[in-house]
């Protein structure tokens, strides 16, 4: 990729070259295409990222300010302050991005501030009145607000926030319900996370491949769903690569009540249905991804419902995790998606290090173990970096 100043200079120069008859208009076009003005777009992205980071800082600061000065402000004043600041953030966002168009990136960041303040209002009002409501519901309301704002204002960062909040709501609900059951039930949480992650990735990929609605095409919902779904799926599977965790799966499954059992079946059904539909798309890796999703979901489901030997399940999940990590690299290569390659590489590294500690840590003296771990990590970093670069270079070519 050309350096920004060179590309800009070339774009200017080629116009005079055409005027002087040194090159034809077509040749000038070909040269410009070879050195596009990508750095400009990158700078714009950097500004957007900076503005979003600023938005989070402002949101967190405002919440901290309210919390610290809460007692000094009467109830009515607190409400007026919360709502006024939220409305103000949205008004400023609209003014900067949509009305004048003067600072579109900062305007988008102010939309993010508005959504963060909406969430803060929900929790702070509950706190103000010592309300012991069902806490996760506030997350669902927040996610709904974020999704609605994202769709109307078309702010891609909010798509990510909405999907993340929705995921947090699901996790909070499931965690609370499992915790209420007591006993070994909480051990089923990683299995539910696997099913949710698989469903989220499958549905989001399906939406990306199949749904042609202009509104969806402008949003980052499918991208966010895919990028959040896969790590959640991998995280759940990773837990069961350890036999101690896999040992508790059967007992956890036995303790699930009707509601949680329903959630388990529903998530599995959603994941399997999305996998089946994904398999029918024209995506290059459609069949591989569909088969992988179906296998992982079936394994999680059978492990929870049937239980059995924890050591055996640990072997199964180890194979699935390692196969999945390598499969991601391959799928990323097939579909020209570098983030899949990068995620696959990270998971391979995590798996190798985890297995090293799992197998050798107790067998070696502590100092030798540390040296071995360090050498292993360096070797993995060297090999993976080389392989990753090679794969990414091939993809670019």
């Amino acid at each position: 990729v050309a350096d920004g100043s060179f590309a800009r200079q070339l774009h200017l120069e080629t116009e005079s070259w055409v005027a002087q008859g040194l090159v034809s208009r077509e040749q000038a076009e070909a040269l410009r295409r070879r050195y596009p003005l990508v750095p400009e777009e990158r700078r714009s992205r950097a500004v957007a990222a900076l503005a979003i980071v600023g938005a989070f800082a402002v949101g967190a600061g405002a919440i901290g300010f309210f919390a610290a000065n809460w007692d000094a402000i009467p109830h009515g004043g607190r409400l007026a302050l919360l709502l006024g600041v939220t409305a103000g953030a949205y008004a400023l966002a609209y003014h900067l991005r949509d009305r004048t168009g003067a600072l579109p990136r900062v305007g988008e960041a102010m939309y993010v501030v508005g959504v963060l303040l909406f969430g803060a209002s929900l929790f702070l009002v509950g706190q103000m009145y010592h309300v012991e409501a069902h806490d996760p519901l506030a997350l669902l309301l927040w996610a709904g607000g974020a999704a609605a704002t994202a769709l109307v204002a078309r702010v891609r960062a909010l798509d990510w926030i909405a999907v993340a909040l929705f995921t947090a709501w699901i996790g909070f609900e499931l965690g609370l319900a499992l915790d209420d059951l007591g006993g070994e039930a909480l051990a089923a949480l990683p299995a539910l996370a696997m099913l949710y992650g698989a469903a989220l990735y499958g549905l989001a990929t399906l939406a990306q491949e199949r749904v042609r609605a202009p509104l969806l095409a402008e949003t980052a919902f499918p991208t966010a769903g895919r990028c959040l779904g896969l790590p959640i799926l991998a995280g759940g599977a990773f837990v069961f690569t350890f036999s101690e965790a896999a040992d508790e799966l059967g007992a956890a499954g036995d303790e699930l009540d009707g509601l949680l059992f329903g959630a388990l079946v529903l998530l599995a059904a959603a994941a399997l249905a999305s996998a089946a539909s994904l398999g029918l798309t024209r995506r290059r890796s459609a069949v591989i991804e569909a088969a992988a999703l179906a296998t992982v979901v079936a394994a999680a489901l059978v492990a929870v419902l049937a239980g059995g030997d924890g050591a055996l399940w640990a072997i199964v999940f180890n194979l699935l995790f390692a196969g999945g990590a390598l499969g991601l690299v391959y799928v990323g290569y097939l579909t020209d998606e570098p983030w899949l390659v990068n995620l696959g590489v990270v998971l391979v590294a995590v798996d190798l290090v985890a297995r090293y500690f799992d197998v050798f840590w107790d067998a070696l003296p502590r100092s030798l173990g540390m040296i071995g771990a360090g050498v292993l990590i360096l070797a993995i970093a060297y090999l993976l970096e080389r392989q990753r670069r090679r794969v990414l270079a091939q993809m670019t070519a």
Partner: protein
């Protein structure tokens, strides 16, 4: 920005302002129309009142003897009596008593009739700033802690305020 999108944006923002406002209005209405009573309380762990920004409270009426068996999560009510400084209760019933003041909550676990059951009334969390938490802690060391709650006709309760040191 099209007119339709502008209207949609205004609607979304208004809805986001209305939700916390509505939550506050509901609680304010409960507090305005409920009947005020005083319950004796204590923090679950007096050494840990600074945990987070809230104090977890337990009441004399948090554990009561059951008249009839209940399962976890089932609604349980207690008939309250005035003991001078505060209100108390002796028994918990799955159905609310028809007379007198009643406070209702949920059973924390399964329990057979004649045994004790832990009840959650929804008034077990009190949010306080660090300074207020210090005051509470000092008052607990000196004397007793009371929570003034507003009781609704259906037996639900909301915390109105905390009174410390007054016994």
């Amino acid at each position: 920005v099209s007119r339709r999108r502008r209207i949609a944006l205004v609607a979304v923002v208004c809805a986001q302002l209305a939700v916390p406002l509505g939550m506050a209005a509901l609680v304010e209405a409960d507090l305005a129309f409920g009947e005020e009573i005083r319950l004796r309380a204590r923090p679950v762990d007096p050494l840990d009142v600074f945990r987070g920004n809230y104090v977890v409270l337990t009441y004399d009426i948090s554990t009561l003897q059951l008249v009839r068996g209940v399962s976890r999560g089932q609604r349980v009510c207690a008939d309250l009596f005035d003991s001078g400084h505060s209100y108390g209760a002796r028994f918990a019933y799955p159905d609310p008593p028809t007379e007198g003041k009643t406070i209702c909550g949920r059973a924390r676990h399964d329990a057979r009739d004649g045994t004790s059951v832990a009840i959650e009334y929804g008034i077990e969390t009190y949010y306080a700033s660090l300074d207020r938490a210090r005051e509470i802690e000092a008052s607990i060391a000196r004397g007793e802690l009371y929570v003034v709650v507003d009781l609704d006709d259906d037996g639900s309760a909301r915390i109105e305020r905390l009174e410390v040191g007054g016994g």
